[in-house]
């Protein structure tokens, strides 16, 4: 396990949407997937994962369905909805704008001022 970073507030929803947009996942799977796609850099606090999932489901951004897990257990699988996909696109674009703006700001040298 490499060095992990703390999540910025408001980014958890985005990451969950991203994770379930790749393929349907159960809650624990979301946790693993985010860790995996972030190259083990992001660690989700386990206690806040489920309230976030429930909130997204309540907002109809993700949908849930009960299914079989890899080891044949009943598990609740989340998939992204059309509205969720739209939200993910918007948030990704927003994030990218913000990130590049911050990066540009941080790159500034004294000559450019």
């Amino acid at each position: 396990m490499g060095k992990t970073a703390d999540l910025l507030p408001g980014t958890l929803d985005m990451l969950i949407l991203k994770a379930v947009s790749l393929r349907p996942l159960h809650g624990y799977g979301v946790l693993l997937r985010i860790r995996q796609i972030s190259g083990d850099a992001l660690e989700i606090p386990q206690g806040s994962l489920y309230p976030a999932l429930y909130r997204l489901e309540h907002q109809d951004l993700i949908a849930a369905e009960w299914g079989q897990s890899e080891n044949n257990r009943r598990a609740k699988y989340y998939t992204v909805t059309a509205a969720g996909r739209r939200r993910l696109r918007e948030e990704t674009a927003g994030w990218n704008r913000l990130a590049s703006a911050i990066a540009a700001a941080l790159k500034a040298t004294s000559e450019e001022v």
Binding site: Y50, Y54, R55, H58, A75
Partner: protein
């Protein structure tokens, strides 16, 4: 937003599922994580511990999940509900009192509102009922307020008044239906062809009447109501084209009306065309309405009542221009008035209903004040508890919502009980004859009313919560926590509030009591009025002679003579007579008469008088008083001389200083040839014609029966037996003479008189009932508040008694408080009673707004009740033992 609601709704409906699945999902997570930890080399027991640690508190995660779903509000609400239920269970005395108060008050309101709803509020069951109007002729200066319309009016108006899209006339009647021996008299309506299209509701099967069917030669068609079709035709789908026998003549059924069809309060079960002869439609007949034919019309979309009225006025003016009677009609104040159909139909009963609704609202107010007082007292007992909870962080919002939940729960439960009370009340009203009110047939307890009642209960819960929430939030926390007694001195404002509530309650109850007294006195005075004849031991009934067999006067007279002869020979019959109408029958039989030689003063018009055509020993049977001359006898119908009898009002109007005997008069408004004049041979005492409370001295004329052209006759028989026992005998006698003739409407005269007072008796009874409840509520209220005052000051009383105060002093202190509240309440109540009495003048009979006896009586009753309610707590205060009260704290 909608989506979230749906999600919340889904979760609420499957709440148990939601919890189970959430638990399962979280357990799955833990197990997977534990497995993964074990796989990565952690020892199993260590893995479980670490998984739990990293996950954090499962309960708080669950709480967060519920909140994410919007469930926390619901949970909080449930918690408050449980808390409120627990509090209410802990004080059963309070809860039961409150529930009963609410049930009675809301139930009484529901009952009266059901009547108001049916009679005043619910629109008539026709499309766009607001556009339906009625038009009637009025001749106020001749003493004829309402004279319906004439056929001439109808033929002159239809199609010529631009503000109306349609205009029709109708006339209520009865007809004898069926084959010989099995005939029945049925209420029917005769209507013009546009009647149904004006209403916007026509036959469900078949067709409406046509223009060609309005003459006597071509009118043998009928339209059946659904009820008649079901009962008499066995709902035969091929009934159209079949024949029924009406007054001995076959008519073809051409239509069947839809099930819900009912025109105003009409009892009509069959509809026939309103036929007439061409000469009945001539200008000379324009003022011959006689209040028999009525007009309805439908305003064109966008047209107003005002436009219609001015168009009618203009037309009347144009027509009257070349009318020889015009001058006379103008002197009589003639006008044709256009009024909304619904409002006109219920105009007479409206003030009474509104009065009753005001009465029950006052009752509700008393009940609400009672509840607020009781709730305030309860809140007073929980000051400390609330203060502690607020100090521990309960928000103001929470304190308020807790009160609202509690009071609303209470009022809703009371409202549910109130539904039962209301249903019972509506039953009671049916017994009191509410079904006979205009549109009273529609009074029913339905889902709409129930919902309205529950909505009112919820609103009441919120309103009741306001003063309690204010009380709970008002005080500074520190004070409440420090003060060691229950209320402490900071309850001063609350005490004033409680006492002013008692005062207002007393005032309202006093008002109700005085109002009920006024209605009762008014009823008593009405019942005390002599009808002008002896109403005991009289049986009355109605017969309608069909035109087919009784075409001319001779045939009708022959029937009447045979009938009276046979009735006179029945055992127990003392005397019998017939008449075209009867006092208190509800039918106003006014018509014009012209006295020979009477010169109309300027502005005076020929007067409308009650006119009766009587046969047999009518006067003797009813027990009229004779003032001068003689009564008419059976022989007067056989003789050729025209004679008549008038009443003393008539005689006094025309001959204030001389005798009426020997004077002559003409039927109708014109002076005719001498041969047509009737000579007055007798003057009777005054008889109440339209009702016992009718004070207008309109005058009446009695003609011999033979001069009457009408098929409807009333029979009156005086007997030595209980009058009802004679009914079967009379019916048998009539059938013996003509097996086709049913004798209906058999009632004793005393029943008729009692029925004529129903519009006074029922409101008086209800008002009496309401004020009894109000008294009880006020007593409960005063008792509760005074008891509380005693309980609150136990310590003070104990100290004072320990210092030597005598029990009598304590007792009189509290008792005088009760008397003070009573006095203030009574003073306000007198003012209120005066205002109420003034508002009630329209429904009172010979009773002024302020009646000293009634005020004194109300004050006496109020005082007695308040004294009892005040004595008990005062007595208890005097019995407080100083030791106990001081040790008890």
């Amino acid at each position: 937003m909608l989506r979230r609601f749906r999600s919340l709704f889904r979760v609420l409906t499957g709440r148990r599922d939601f919890e189970a699945r959430m638990t399962e999902e979280l357990r799955f997570h833990m197990e997977q994580y534990t497995c993964d930890l074990v796989r990565s080399g952690v020892r199993p027991e260590e893995a479980g511990r670490r998984a739990r640690m990293e996950f954090g508190s499962v309960n708080s995660v669950k709480g967060d999940c519920r909140e994410a779903r919007g469930l926390h509000l619901f949970d909080e609400f449930l918690r408050e509900l449980r808390y409120a239920a627990r509090l209410l269970r802990k004080t059963p005395g309070f809860t039961v009192t409150a529930l009963l108060t609410l049930a009675v008050c809301l139930g009484a309101n529901l009952t009266i509102f059901a009547v108001i709803d049916s009679v005043l509020l619910r629109p008539l069951p026709f499309p766009e009922p607001g556009r339906l109007v009625t038009i009637f002729n009025t001749y106020p200066k001749a003493g004829v307020e309402r004279d319906g319309s004439s056929l001439t009016n109808y033929y002159e108006r239809r199609g010529r008044i631009p503000a109306f899209s349609s205009l029709a006339i109708y006339r209520y009647d009865t007809a004898i239906i069926g084959e010989a021996g099995t005939t029945e008299r049925e209420p029917v309506a005769r209507v013009s062809p546009e009647f149904f299209s004006t209403l916007g509701a026509g036959p469900r099967m078949g067709r409406a009447f046509t223009e060609e069917e309005t003459t006597y030669q071509t009118d043998s068609v009928a339209i059946l109501t659904d009820a008649y079709w079901r009962q008499r035709c066995n709902a035969d789908p091929h009934a159209i084209g079949s024949q029924i026998r009406v007054d001995g003549v076959p008519r073809t059924v051409i239509g069947v009306l839809p099930p819900g069809f009912r025109f105003l309060s009409s009892e009509a079960r069959l509809y026939f065309p309103l036929s007439s002869r061409p000469e009945d439609r001539m200008p000379l007949q324009r003022h011959h309405g006689g209040n028999v034919i009525q007009t309805i019309a439908r305003l064109k979309p966008g047209a107003t009542l005002g436009q219609a009225q001015s168009q009618i006025d203009t037309q009347n003016a144009t027509l009257e221009a070349d009318d020889p009677q015009a001058r006379m009609m103008a002197d009589a104040g003639f006008r044709s008035v256009v009024v909304p159909l619904h409002a006109d139909h219920v105009a007479a009963i409206r003030p009474t209903l509104l009065l009753l609704q005001a009465g029950v609202l006052a009752l509700l107010l008393i009940g609400a004040v009672n509840l607020v007082n009781l709730l305030l007292i309860r809140a007073g007992g929980r000051v400390k508890e609330l203060a502690v909870r607020q100090a521990l962080g309960a928000s103001r919002r929470y304190v308020v919502s807790e009160v609202v939940v509690e009071t609303t729960m209470l009022t809703l439960a009371g409202g549910l009980l109130g539904l039962a009370v209301g249903a019972g009340g509506i039953r009671l009203l049916a017994v009191l004859g509410a079904g006979r009110l205009p549109l009273g047939g529609g009074i029913a307890f339905d889902a709409r009313l129930a919902l309205a009642a529950l909505a009112a209960a919820i609103v009441m819960g919120i309103v009741l919560a306001a003063p309690i929430a204010w009380f709970n939030l008002r005080r500074p926390l520190g004070n409440a926590l420090q003060s060691e007694s229950r209320g402490g001195s900071s309850g001063r404002a609350a005490q004033i509030l409680r006492h002013s509530f008692i005062v207002s309650q007393t005032a309202l109850a006093f008002m109700l009591l005085a109002g009920a007294g006024l209605l009762g006195l008014s009823l008593k005075r009405a019942m005390g009025v002599s009808p002008g004849f002896r109403p005991d031991h009289i049986l009355t009934g109605q017969i309608s002679l069909p035109w087919k067999n009784y075409r001319d006067r001779a045939a009708r007279l022959a029937f009447v003579e045979t009938l009276l002869d046979k009735i006179g020979h029945q055992p127990g019959v003392l005397s019998a007579g017939v008449a075209s109408n009867m006092p208190l029958s509800g039918k106003s039989g006014k018509s014009a008469a012209r006295v020979k030689g009477h010169i109309l003063r300027p502005g005076e018009s020929p007067r409308g008088h009650y006119a009766y055509w009587v046969g047999g020993d009518y006067f003797g049977a009813l027990g009229f008083r004779l003032r001068a001359g003689r009564f008419l006898t059976a022989a007067d119908s056989r003789r050729t001389e025209r004679v008549c009898v008038v009443d003393e009002d008539f005689a006094r109007y025309y001959w204030p200083d001389s005798s009426a005997l020997g004077q002559r008069l003409f039927e109708g408004s014109d002076e005719g040839v001498d041969a047509e004049a009737f000579t007055i041979v007798g003057v009777t005492g005054r008889v109440k014609q339209a009702g016992l409370t009718d004070d207008t001295a309109q005058g009446a004329i009695y003609y011999p029966y033979v001069f009457r052209d009408d098929s409807n006759i009333f029979i009156v028989a005086r007997t030595g037996l209980p009058p009802e026992s004679l009914g079967l005998t009379l019916q048998k006698v009539v059938r013996q003479i003509d097996p086709d003739l049913p004798l209906n409407d058999l009632q004793s005269m005393e029943t008729r008189i009692a029925d004529s007072l129903a519009a006074r008796r029922s409101p008086a009874l209800l008002a009496g009932l309401f004020s009894a409840i109000a008294l009880l509520l006020t007593a409960i209220g005063s008792y509760g508040v005074l008891s509380y005052a005693v309980a609150q000051r136990r310590r003070e009383i104990g100290v004072r008694m320990a210092l030597g105060a005598r029990p009598e002093q304590i007792r009189s202190q509290f008792f005088s408080l009760a008397l003070r509240l009573l006095a203030y309440g009574t003073i306000l109540g007198v003012i209120g009673a005066w205002l109420a009495g003034r508002a009630m003048q329209a429904v009172l009979f010979h009773v002024p707004a302020l009646n000293l006896a009634i005020l004194a009586g109300a004050a006496g009753v109020m005082g007695a009740v308040s004294v009892v309610a005040g004595l008990l707590p005062a007595h208890r205060a005097a019995k407080i033992s100083p030791m106990e009260s001081l040790a008890g704290q």
